[in-house]
């Protein structure tokens, strides 16, 4: 299975989260913070910290550590916390 991350194909196994697949593919960070523009990726890995936020198929603020990767999903980086309402 493959999804795209900022246009690049990333392989994923069934049941793997987007974040886990990104780490397996060698990406450790994919977001910049709102104030310091500091890079962030996964920290807690279990949905607590919100460091791992990405935009998935146009929906901002999805937690990469929780959302399971799916075929042809379009994942993009996001700056800051995003302005869209929070999604689970």
């Amino acid at each position: 299975m493959r999804f795209t991350f900022d246009g690049k194909a990333i392989p994923a196994e069934p049941g793997q989260s987007i974040g886990a697949a990104l780490i397996a593919a060698g990406h450790r960070s994919w977001r910049r913070t709102r104030i310091d523009a500091a890079p962030r990726g996964i920290f807690c890995g279990i949905g607590i910290c919100h460091d791992c936020l990405v935009t998935v198929d146009g929906a901002a603020n999805r937690r990469a550590c929780l959302v399971e990767a799916a075929e042809d999903m379009r994942v993009t980086t996001q700056e800051g916390a995003g302005r869209a309402e929070l999604e689970c």
Binding site: E13, P14, G15, Q16, S17, A20, A21, I23, A24, R28, S29, T33, R34, I35, D36, A38, P39, R40, G41, I42, F43, C44, G45, I46, G47, I48, C49, H50, D51, L53, C65, E68, A81, E85, L86, E87, C88
Partner: protein, 448 residues
């Protein structure tokens, strides 16, 4: 298979959380014949402890037989998976994401815990993970967090994480335990027993072997943009650095944790009384039946005291029976007493010491979400006159971000109490743990 698409919305008992405690509670309640809903945010039962992927045969899990036994016992339970509980009204109405509210006469809260973090220079670098996060990547997703991993912090969980990584073929550059379990233990036999029991078979300690260093802490993480190494140092009994012992260890991942923080938002929403436990955690008070101070609200697992999965299962079995209106047998009560004694010995063996506070520089980020630095937290006390963490939160914004203080709440409370020249008290943690909405929800769900 548990029913996951139940149309029904009224139950005798609703259990929140499907980890060891919640599974046991649901099983015990269902065994008595009452109707039970098990509400959990995860796609599969097991919680953090038995986190697994579909098709996982349990080879790398501990107590997997216990898990499969409990899973078999919840056949009559409506397992409402992938619904995160964000609010509970008295009475009880359980609001969870993505479905209609669930009504229940009795509740068992088993929300579990997450890693407790102490900030240090560089801890926001990508490549620094919580110990539980590294384990979740491995157990839940089959991914190693790095090629050369350092495990650090305090507590027996570090050994479990390191042994799991080694078992999976990871490169582990070192396991750094800040305490000296044997030296501190008032119950050395209990701790030896603990490590032995936690060891299961090969024994974590034997697996981890010479990589395990006690009285050693990661005092800084380094890297340009991402983690490339850490500085470790020997520390004294108060966790102060022994000068001249600093050395750099190259790594691409750090798994760090200093014990656990129970998830208290649901008991706090319901008005349950809390207390400060021996490990410094805010926990909800439970009586002999595992009932909180609110009639009909039962508690099981870390929420009423961090004690590991075996104790969580026992508490769950007791809570489940009482929630169903049936009392628990004396064997269960005896088992709980022994397991609590054991948990208490572990808390004594792996205490937090105040030395870590001296290494949080003015520039060190305390709150990761709002990027609040230590200097802003101390200024709220020194210049603005705050006398408690809750006021500091309002003035300087630590804990105001997306995680709602779950990650920084404990550390912020410690920094503030220390700045005020006193020890941590229950009210410090309570002031930062109250969250009217326990989970991120959409505005639509709030509007209901």
């Amino acid at each position: 298979m548990p029913n996951s698409s139940a149309e029904r919305n009224e139950y005798d008992v609703a259990v929140i959380g499907a980890g060891p405690a919640g599974l046991a509670a649901a099983a015990a309640a269902a065994d008595t014949g009452v109707s039970v809903a098990l509400v959990d945010s995860g796609p599969r039962p097991g919680g953090q402890y038995w986190r697994h992927r579909t098709g996982d045969d349990g080879t790398h899990h501990h107590d997997w037989a216990e898990f499969t036994r409990l899973r078999a016992r919840i056949r009559e339970v409506d397992h409402l998976a992938e619904h995160a509980v964000w609010h509970i009204e008295p009475g009880f109405t359980v609001h969870a994401t993505g479905r209609d509210p669930v009504r229940a006469r009795r509740l068992v809260l088993a929300p579990g815990a997450h890693d407790r973090q102490l900030p240090f220079p560089g801890w926001t670098l990508p490549g620094v993970y919580t110990a539980g996060g590294v384990q979740a990547l491995l157990k839940g997703h089959g991914v190693l967090a790095g090629k050369r991993i350092v495990v650090a912090g305090t507590g027996p969980f570090l050994l479990a994480v390191a042994a799991g990584l080694l078992d999976a073929g990871a490169g582990v550059a070192g396991v750094f335990e800040a305490g000296t379990p044997a030296g501190f233990a008032r119950h050395p036999l209990a701790v030896a027993g603990a490590l032995g029991k936690l060891g299961e078979g090969a024994g974590y300690l034997r697996v981890v072997g010479r990589r395990y260093r006690t009285r050693t802490m990661v005092i800084a993480a380094h890297g340009t943009g991402e983690l490339s190494g850490v500085t470790v140092a020997k520390v004294d009994a108060n966790w102060q650095v022994v000068p001249g012992t600093e050395r750099d260890v190259a790594c691409d991942a750090l798994a760090v944790g200093y014990g656990f923080t129970p998830q208290l938002e649901l008991p706090l929403q319901l008005g349950c009384a809390t207390r400060l436990d021996a490990d410094g955690s805010l926990v909800a008070t439970a009586d002999d039946r595992q009932m909180s101070t609110v009639e009909g609200v039962f508690l099981a697992g870390e929420v009423c005291g961090v004690g590991g999965s075996a104790l969580a299962v026992t508490e769950g079995l007791i809570a489940g029976r009482h929630a169903a209106g049936v009392s628990a047998g004396s064997r269960l009560l005896r088992r709980r007493r022994a397991q609590r004694r054991f948990a208490g010995a572990l808390h004594q063996a792996f205490p937090l010491r105040r030395g870590w506070l001296d290494r949080v520089g003015a520039d060190t980020v305390v709150c990761r979400c709002e990027e609040v630095r230590h200097r802003a937290v101390t200024a709220a006390v020194d210049d603005l006159g705050a006398t408690d963490p809750r006021t500091v939160k309002l003035l300087a914004r630590p804990g105001m971000g997306l995680c709602q203080g779950r990650v920084c709440g404990f550390a912020t409370a410690c920094v503030v109490a220390d700045r005020l020249g006193r020890t941590l008290i229950e009210a410090d943690l309570r002031g930062l743990a109250a969250r009217p909405v326990a989970q991120p929800v959409t505005l639509g769900e709030l509007a209901g």
